[in-house]
Amino acid sequence: MSESIPGAAELQAATNEFMRRMTQGLAVLANVRDVTIGSVAKDAVFKEDKLTLYRYRPSEVVAPDLRVRTPLLICYALVNRPYMMDLQADRSLIRGLVQRGVDVYLIDWGYPDGADRYLGLEDYVLRYLPHCVDFVRRASGHEQINLLGVCQGGTMSLCYAALHPQRLKNLITMVTPVDFQTPDNLLTKWAKHVDVDALVATTGNVSGEMLNALFVSVMPFRLNSQKYVDLLDQLNEPNVDAAALENFLRMEKWIFDSPDQPGETFRQFLTLFVKENRLMQGTLRIGGRAVDLKQIAMPLLNIYALQDHLVPPAASKPMQQLVGSGDYSTHEFQGGHIGIYVSGTAQRQIPDKIAGWLRDRDSR
């Protein structure tokens, strides 16, 4: 830059200082050790194809009369990995639930590969999920169990609950969309003109990397650049918070550890739920069976996040009008799609809310 341009020297100095801080941050980052994931001991109790069902070991310090007797099965989304539910000791919905006497099971869908490209929604909603529910019913001796669905897993749980209402005692949905065409839903707008049939016919499974690129491109300046500049900048502080840095890296791992989506399931989900909004219209059919959400008569707790940019509250709120439950409650969380699991506020609020709500309905 020419010295004759006014301010050129100052800009050069400011740029140099910025770059010095970034470089210093990189040097600190280079010395960080690998992060570990998970905090609650668990056992694999059932396997089918790539699916593994885990049971978390109950806490021994909870008094028997404070325990929730009916077991809770968590159905996570196919997008991303379910260890978000138990990321680390101080960021763990599952730990919070176990400590409050809830008997927790979790479905890990695994990493689908090329052999799974023809798995459809019917395989997940009418085969895998029912098998897990039936396993928990048999193992616990309860005719009915509690089901908690997360995000896309919540949508699948709603479908399951509508088709098998007699097997569930209570249903909880977290950041779960039912209306996929709200005006603030950017991903739906983008999906509108995508030829999903050609996509799946050509790629087979839909790669997790491609989906990550899509999610990141929703806020490209912040998610591709600023969050890393923030990190490097913070690493210049005299007392670098090692735990905060590890938290960041753990979250990075989770965000980008994305399984591929089975092609046929992705095609059906994008077509039936997103493009045609059939859950909202009441015209959804899975495996030839009509999904009538009015069949969901069991108590239902719907938890959504007010700053969720992936599943805006408006996408979740209409659930109340769609289901047939006479005991419908909501919980609004002040935070985003991820913060609802990992923020400090979430640790204080969400496990309490869920365990309390379940306990209130446990003996009914």
């Binding site: 707008k189 030829d195 600023q226 500049v229």
Partner: protein, 251 residues
């Protein structure tokens, strides 16, 4: 040369006729075992032996010379009329594929077309992103002007954060527009089309070497899934029958 064997052209097409004769001569030499040039024939007549390898080399050299002369002729023509050549190429590209290489030509032609379409759309999308960045800079300037009374930008980091804020603001407006959604999807669809064409070319190559292709694997996976579904249905029916049998006290 007599009038009868002058061939096509009858005077005006002499060069064509000469070319035909040249080809004939080449073919005659190649097809006649032991056929030699006048010199070689003389050598033979004089009793000199020529190993078979030399004969082959000789033949190869003649082909090489001939092809070089063709190439020179073509490149000369190309230099002389580049525009005409391009027109001819365009014409060829639009012609239906013919002959033995028809299928090969077709898949490569489709691949080329898909690549061109994809590149054009990508360029269009890049232009939109460039515009977003340019507009973001404009907004940065505007916001700094409006901030005059407030504390200004004190360091590079603050400027960077303002740029991010402006960038997201401008991008959000663009990203929510119907035209952007359409363009982004068009780019994605074109990329998928290109990938499909690449797969077609690769699969053709794999088949040539009798190697398994993704299409064949797809057929197998589809059949496996259907078989598993049928087994699950049969198992469920069997379980129902067993349950009914127990209820009737048969088991």
């Amino acid at each position: 040369m007599t009038e009868e064997n002058k061939g096509p052209g009858n005077g005006a097409g002499d060069w064509i006729h000469a070319w035909v004769e040249q080809q004939r001569e080449q073919l005659r030499r190649a097809a006649t075992p032991g056929a030699q040039s006048t010199d070689k024939a003389n050598d033979k007549a004089s009793g000199a032996e020529q190993p078979a390898a030399d004969a082959m080399k000789d033949l190869g050299m003649r082909w090489l010379e001939a092809s070089q002369s063709y190439l020179q002729a073509w490149s000369g023509a190309a230099l002389a009329g580049e525009g005409a050549t391009r027109q001819f190429t365009d014409l060829l590209a639009r012609m239906p594929s013919l002959g033995l290489a028809r299928e090969q030509t077709e898949i490569w032609r489709e691949l080329t077309a898909a690549q061109a379409e994809c590149q054009a759309l990508e360029q269009e999308l890049r232009a939109v992103w460039t515009r977003v960045q340019s507009d973001a800079l404009g907004l940065v300037e505007k916001m700094i002007r409006e901030r005059k009374s407030e504390p200004g930008i004190n360091n590079y980091r603050e400027l960077y954060d303002l740029w991010v804020e402006c960038g997201e603001k401008v991008f959000a407006q663009v990203a929510h527009s119907e035209s952007y959604a359409k363009l982004q999807a068009q780019v994605g669809n074109a990329a998928i089309k290109l990938r499909a064409r690449q797969q077609a070319v690769i699969e053709r190559g794999l088949k040539h070497f009798d190697l398994p292709t993704r299409s064949e694997l797809n057929t197998v996976h589809k059949q496996m899934r259907e078989l598993r579904e049928r087994i699950a249905t049969l198992e469920a029916q069997l379980a129902d029958q067993l349950d009914n049998g127990r209820e009737r006290g048969e088991g």
